[in-house]
Each structure stands twice: as C-alpha cells, then as structure tokens.
C-alpha cells in the first residue's frame, strides 16, 4: 500500500512538472523561431540578474496580483463546480468596485466598521449584478453564457455613466474617479520583514486566504457543497436526490457574484489613490476564468494558478526592459501553460491507467487467489 501511495504522489508531482517542461519547451521554440535571445529571456524570467530590491518588489507584487486573481478565479470556480458558466465576473466586479468606492466614500464610519461596510457593499453589489442572469435562467431559461456576456457590456456602459455622474475630478484632469475613501476605510499594507522593499502586501491578502479556506470547506465538507457538486456531475441525479436545482443556480450565482464583488477591493482599500477611476484595473474576470480552469477549480490549485499567472505578469516588465522581448511573449506563455497543464494531466492519467492494467496482469500470475472481479 505504501509503495502504491508513493507511486501516486510521484505521479501527482509528475503532472505539473511535465506541464512546466512542456511550456518551457514551446516558449523556447517560439523564441528560437522568432530569433529572440532564449537564454537571456529565461534568465530575466527567473530574475537571475535582478537587484535584490527588484526581486523583493517582484515577490510582493506577485502576491498582490495573485490576491486579486484569486478572488476572481474563486468566483468563477463556484459556478463551474455546478457547471454554471459565469462569464460575468468581469461585469460583476467592476460594478461592485464602483459601488463600494462610491458608497464607501459617502459615509462616515469608525475604522473597522467602515472597511466592513465597503466589503459588504461590494459583495452585495456583485451578488446583485449576478442575480440578473440567475433569475433569467431560473424563470425564463435564458442561458447564463449569453446573459453574462451581455451583462458585461451593459455593466461597462452603466458604470461609465455612473462614474461620469459621480466623478470628483475636474479642472484639467483627464481622469474620472470617485471621491477618495477616507482613512477609516483603508486597510494598511503588510511589510514583509526579510524583503528589502517599501512595497507592501495588501492587507486583504488574509481575506483571500480565508475565502479560499471557506471555499474548500464549503465545497468539500458541507451538505451545500455536496449538493453543488452533485448538480454539476449530474443534474438529473441531483434532482432525484432532492436538490432544488433552481435554488442551487440562484445560490451559486449569488455567491459567485458576491465573491466577484471582492475582486476590486484589495486594491481599492489597500493602495492610493483609494478610488475607482478610469485607470482601475480591468479584464480580471476573464483572467479569473483561465486561472480557475488552470487550478482545476480547487482552492489550492487556484492559489497556485493565481501565483503562476501573477508571476508571469510581473515578469513582463523586466522582459521588455532587460531582455528587449515584446510583452506578448508572456501572453503566449500563459496560453501555453494552460494547455500544457491539462495535456500533462491527461498524459499522466493515461500512464496511470495503463500501469494499473500492467499491475493487475502481474498480480494475476501467482495464483487463483488474485482471481475475480476485485483485484
């Protein structure tokens, strides 16, 4: 048994390693074909020649980016676990970030409450925006794929309009932004002692960790999670087992939207300029889909995926500045990694099956004791 366990751990590690090897190979090939400096690129990507300070900054930036990605991917994963395809995280988080920034700046509250208020507003707003496709699906049977795609664009127009109405900017500024959140709504950053940098990790990184833990627990250990997964695996069987699928659709969508609402918050309350503006990060919802899939919709897998993604994003700058290679290489690598990971898992799966068959064949030889259906 122990040797079998060994084998399975080994195979478990084999898949990601194989994936990375594949991705490195393909990317190097692209570089060679395009005539870019392969060695230099890899050295840059691994921060080989970077200054200590740059490396430290990179670590912090990776953690920060990953935090944001994590919420987004988690939001997507909640839907995926029951085969609900929420492409609308993009619209949900932007709507929520705006609402939280705007309402957060218009109330006066003591410190911890104010932060809580911002978080609650964000989650409610995200859930509200997600409620539309949920209700359309359960009452009118509208596919959530269509409705969320449409609602992303509607959110864009709506938020653009609201932002124009609410903008505190004026004069010569060419930006639009909500009012700055007061100090009481800020969440201080965390300095990591041994890292030589002034850049700080978002205070809300803990919220991401908590969200991941709650997600894992809720999905794997609770009745609700069981119902959710059962619905994803077989809707018909879930219905027969007493799951109210419509209610699950609404619940999953609202939860997904609430988590999506958090996507914009770490940056909003964690760093200047503490507002929502035209330069606020966009596109996170789509990144979330890729990362959720990369992480196979598990809490830990998504965390690894988010860190990897963030790492490549962060590497884009030195790649341009130090290696002189266009940043699109990073996009190509990200795409390649997503494919490599899944292909690697499939190859390992096939290997596992065939080696299992060989094992059975070998076990059969000794004698009639090993006969039979159960091996």
């Amino acid at each position: 048994m122990t040797s079998a366990r060994w084998r399975s751990t080994l195979l478990g590690i084999a898949a990601p390693l194989l994936a990375i090897a594949l991705a490195v190979l393909v990317t190097s090939l692209v570089l060679v074909v395009a005539g870019d400096p392969v060695g230099k690129v890899w050295q840059t990507l691994l921060f080989v020649h970077s200054k200590e300070a740059a490396r430290s900054r990179a670590v912090v930036n990776i953690i920060n980016s990953a935090t944001v990605y994590y919420f987004s991917a988690l939001a997507v994963a909640i839907g995926f676990r029951m085969r609900l395809f929420n492409i609308g995280v993009e619209g949900q988080y932007r709507f929520a970030a705006f609402a939280a920034a705007y309402l957060g700046a218009s109330v006066t509250l003591p410190k911890p409450l104010h932060v809580l208020f911002v978080l609650v507003v964000a989650m409610l707003a995200g859930a509200l925006w997600a409620a539309v496709p949920a209700l359309l699906k359960v009452t009118r049977g509208v596919s959530e794929v269509i409705s969320t795609i449409m609602l992303n664009s509607i959110a864009t127009a709506l938020v653009a309009w609201l932002l124009r109405k609410a903008s505190a900017k004026g004069g010569t500024s060419l930006n639009l932004s909500t009012k700055t959140l007061p100090d009481s709504a800020h969440v201080g950053g965390i300095s990591i002692g041994f890292l030589d940098t002034k850049v700080q990790v978002y205070g809300l990184v803990f919220l991401a960790v908590v969200a991941g833990a709650v997600y894992w627990f809720a999905i794997e250990r609770t009745r609700f999670g069981f119902d959710l997964r059962a619905t994803g695996r077989s809707e018909t069987a879930a219905v027969a087992s007493g799951v109210d699928v419509r209610r699950m659709v609404v619940a999953a969508m609202l939860l997904s939207g609430a988590v999506a609402g958090l996507v914009g918050i770490p940056a909003l309350v964690g760093t200047a300029p503490y507002n929502y503006s035209l330069s606020t990060q966009s596109g996170l919802g789509f990144t979330g889909i890729a990362i959720a899939l990369l992480g196979r919709n598990t809490a830990l897998g998504i965390a690894v995926g988010a860190l990897l993604w963030a790492y490549l994003d962060i590497a884009a700058n030195p790649l341009q500045i130090q290696a002189g290679v266009s940043t699109q290489l990073v996009t190509i690598m990200q795409g390649t990694i997503v494919l490599s990971v899944v292909v690697a898992y499939e190859l390992v799966r096939r290997y596992r099956v065939s080696s299992e068959q060989r094992r059975v064949a070998a076990a059969l030889r000794p004698g009639p004791a090993a006969q039979g259906a159960a091996a």
Binding site: R223, G225, A230, R233, G242, A361, A375
Partner: protein
C-alpha cells in the same frame, strides 16, 4: 487458418460438438484487463452457424466486455477472434460490421435527438442513402419482422420496447449474419419477449447466428441452442438446454439455488403509509399524463404496478417523489398532506427511491462509491452531522452496504462508473434500504441483476416489508411483480385500469390486461 480449437483447450467441462461447417464465431484465449480488474481471462467460445448461443454469468462476470471485444469496440489484451473460420483483427466496430457482426447493446446506443431513420442509417449510408430509399428499406424490414417502426419519429419519443426494436432493426439493416444481443429482454414485457424470440427463431431459420446474453435463465433455456457460462471472467462450461435445467445453470453460474420471488405470508397492516387521491398530472402541452390516479400503500404491503413501459409509470414515480408537481389531487404520507413538499423534504420523511434509469437518476457516475452513498440522503445520518458531511460515517456505511449486498468492487473509492451494471444496482438498493425508510418506491429494482443478487435484493425487500416498510413496486419482470406484490394494479395510458390478485394471476393474463386486452375487475 485455425478453424478448430487448439489442443491446449481442455478446460471445458462439456465439450462442444463441432458442426461440419466452420463456426460463425470462434473466440480463443481472450483476455481483457481494466484498471483494478480482469474482465476476461483466457476465454474460449465457439458459436456454430445458424444457432442461438446464450451467454450467462453473474454481474461483472465479463459478458458485456467479451461482446464488446467481439464487436470491435474494445481490443483484447490477448487472444484471437475468428469469424467464419478466418481470423480477424477488429480495430473498430466498422471492421466487425464489415464481416457481418452486429450488436444490440443493453444500454441503448441511440441518439435521442435524431430520428429513427437517422439512427438506423448512420454508418451504413452507403447501402440506401439517407433519404427515401432508406426509408423504404426500413419500412420493408419493419413489416417483414413485425417491428412496427416509424422511421421519422424522434427516438426520444419512443418507449423502451420500441427502442429495443430500433436497435434490432439497425443490425438487420446492415445485413448482419451474426447478431449479438446484450440483455435484450430486461426491459420487455412477456409479449414483447415472445415476439422477440419469434424474431430470433425466424432469423435463425434464415441462417443467421445469434449470441444472446440474459440473466433470465428460463428464457435462456427456451430459446438457446447452446449456453456458455462465464464465471469471474472465464468460461466454465458450455451446455445444451436439454442437458441442464435452470437450477443447474444457476449452480454453474454462482453455485447457489435458483431463487423464487414468492412472498410467503402476508404482513400487510391497515395503517396507510402512502395515499394518492385523484392525482392528475399534465404535460406541457396540456394532455393528461396521469389522470385521476388514486391508490394506497399500507405498512408491510408491496403494491405492484404493472404496465407496459411508457404508460405513466415514470411520471407516477416522479410525482410521488415530488420531482413533478401534479395539477390536481392530493398525496399523503402517513396521513400528512405532502403534495406541496419538495423532493428533499419527502426523502427526509422516509421515502426511498430506486430509479428506473440508474445512470441518469440514481448515481453520480464520476463520483466514488461513498459519495454515491450520500446521494439522496444528504440530510440524514450517518452521512451528515448538521450542515456538515460526515465522511467517516458515510464511508463506514458504504462499506457495510458493499458487504451486505455483495457489491463486487475493488473498494469504496472507485468511481461508480467502473462498476458493472448489476453491481451499480446493488449499491443503489442497499443505499435506499438504509436508514429505515417508511416507503420504498422501486422501479425495476433487479433489472440487469444476476440471479444470485436478485435473490438477495428480494430477501432484503421482504425483510424490510416484514419490519413495516411500504413498497411501491414497478417492474417489467412479471414474475417478480407477481411474486413480491401483495396487491397489483395495472396502469394504462396514465390511469389505473385494473386490480389483480397476485396469488391468482399468471404472467400471461397480467400481460394481457397491461395491453388493455385482458379482463380484470375494473378499478378507479
């Protein structure tokens, strides 16, 4: 070409008498391994031309796997296949079809959203095209073999019997000379079985060869010319019907007695557990699917519902389970009106459910066995504690079910999809009888289950009934229905049309009243 058995083969207890002509099919030394399981081990079978050759064996014995190998769907790890005396290697069913082998799978191989015509011509378009010529040919075949198939219907509109006939038509359309039927009778009523057997005899008389799998041993004895018994993946005997009776065959298979479904003494009480009052269910287009159904099941009673498939049984079951909401009428459980209750609440109140389609309604095929133990009992001990799953409790109880119901599996962490059909069924029955249900709604509880396991399931149902369980039983196996039921009702086109006394009715007369021809006492 080795048309005769190799001298190495001496393991057959009963030697096959080899006909003068080359056998239709010869399988030699077939071995097939799956992860964790050896499905076939060194199998030897020879099927003579123009005969009906039956293959019997326990659930998971490896019958379906063997047939899939013969049909080119799976590659054997070892061994050879010869058709008409010449050795062949199949890399896909196309190769098998090309040498005249056709197969009817038990889990229908039909695309629901395509028409009968499309399903039939698929892959054989070169014969008569895909339009009028093909339609004509299908009508011809349908008439010639009395299959009663309308080519332009969507398959999803067909009942199981009709689907079975479409499957047979598919094989005939391709002009197969050797036809494999994997449990073709499991879903048929006796009349349909008879018709099928008439067809088989007709095919045989035209020189075709039929390979036939079934768990119903008397059927096998009545139709087969030769019977091969498979146990635990390997051939243990080949016999002729005259040489052995059902009991002997069962002993060859499992080494146990042929059980009977008869219920001994009545345990019926006068406490009503389930009652339906004038329940009417309408389809989306406004037609009645169930009309004015009233019935009662009492503690300790098994109420059997007889009927040809597609007459509202599924809808009745789903209405009782709360999956469908009736437009009119009341449903009561132990006196309480549960008409408005959700499925979850009904199941919590003690309704167990063995669904007719285990793959769609009974299992999470991609989940391990222990999670399947939880399914349908997500709110009950030992699966959960409050809102949390109790993994240890669920696992322990799954192991109990595997032990008590003899589910043949390498462990409780394998996926449900890796179990053979019969073993999946045993798991479901075990699960639904756990946790002391007050009512069991069972649709075809022993479908596809071997004789040994069937007996275990019957015993389990009887024991639970004696302990006060009320059972609503739906089955296409009329022996089972008559044997287990305390009361029998016949459903026809959504209505309960007759009440029969199980102690007096015969399968034949019951079958007649199911098709609306028989005479019984009128019932509302």
């Amino acid at each position: 070409m080795p048309a005769h058995p190799s001298p190495v083969d001496t393991s057959h207890p009963v030697e096959v008498v080899i006909a003068a002509a080359a056998p239709a099919v010869t399988l030699r030394g077939i071995t097939k391994r799956f992860p964790g399981v050896v499905a076939n081990r060194d199998i030897d079978i020879e099927v003579a031309k123009g005969t009906v050759h039956a293959i019997v064996g326990e659930n998971g014995a490896g019958k379906s796997t063997l047939m899939k190998i013969l049909y080119g769907m799976q590659k054997p790890d070892e061994g050879t296949i010869a058709v008409d005396g010449s050795e062949v290697v199949f890399s896909s069913p196309a190769d098998a079809i090309a040498v005249g082998v056709g197969m009817v799978h038990q889990h229908f191989m039909l695309a629901d959203n395509l028409t009968v015509l499309e399903n039939v011509v698929l892959g054989a378009e070169r014969l008569h095209g895909i339009r009028d010529a093909a339609r004509t040919r299908i009508r011809e075949l349908s008439t010639a073999y009395g299959l009663d198939i309308e080519p332009d219907r969507l398959v999803e509109e067909l009942g199981v019997g009709a689907r079975q006939r479409v499957e047979i038509l598919k094989v005939l359309y391709r002009g197969a000379k050797t036809i494999i039927l994997d449990e073709p009778t499991a879903v048929l009523v006796p009349q349909e079985v008879d018709e099928l057997f008439d067809n088989l005899r007709e095919l045989k008389s035209e020189g075709l060869t039929v390979v036939f799998i079934s768990h119903k041993l008397d059927e096998v004895l009545s139709v087969a010319d030769e019977i091969t018994v498979i146990r635990r993946g390997t051939t243990v005997a080949t016999v002729r019907p005259g040489e052995v009776d059902a009991r002997g065959l069962a002993e060859l298979m499992v080494g146990s007695e042929l059980p009977s479904p008869e219920t001994r003494e009545s345990t019926v009480t006068d406490q009503t557990v389930l009652s339906l009052e004038h329940v009417t269910l309408r389809a989306a287009d406004g037609r009645d699917v169930l009309s004015e159904v009233s019935l009662q099941v009492r503690r300790g009673e098994v109420l059997g519902i007889a009927g040809v498939e597609g007459n509202g049984q599924s809808e009745l079951v789903e209405t009782i389970l709360g999956i469908r909401k009736p437009q009119e009428g009341t449903i009561r459980l132990q006196g309480e009106d549960i008409t408005g209750w959700s499925t979850r609440r009904r199941r919590e109140a003690g309704i167990g459910y063995v669904p007719e389609d285990r793959h769609r309604h009974g299992l999470l095929l991609e989940a391990p066995l222990w999670e399947n133990r939880v399914l349908g009992h997500q709110t009950q001990r030992p699966n959960v504690r409050g809102p949390l799953l109790d993994r240890a409790g669920a696992r322990r109880d799954t192991e109990r079910i595997v032990r008590d119901y003899d589910v043949r599996t390498p462990g409780i962490d394998v996926l449900a999809s890796a179990l053979s059909g019969g073993n999946q069924q045993k798991l479901i029955v075990g699960r639904e009888l756990s946790g002391e249900p007050v009512l069991l709604v069972a649709a075809h509880p022993t479908r596809g289950v071997d004789v040994g396991a069937q007996a275990q399931i019957w015993d389990a149902v009887r024991d639970a009934r004696a302990a006060g369980l009320a059972v609503l039983l739906i089955s296409a196996d009329l022996e089972e229905l008559i044997g287990l039921s305390d009361t029998l009702q016949v459903i026809l086109r959504g209505r309960l049309v007759a009440r029969e006394d199980p102690s007096r009715v015969t399968p034949e007369s019951l079958g007649a009243s199911m098709t609306g021809l028989g005479r019984g006492e009128g019932a509302a």
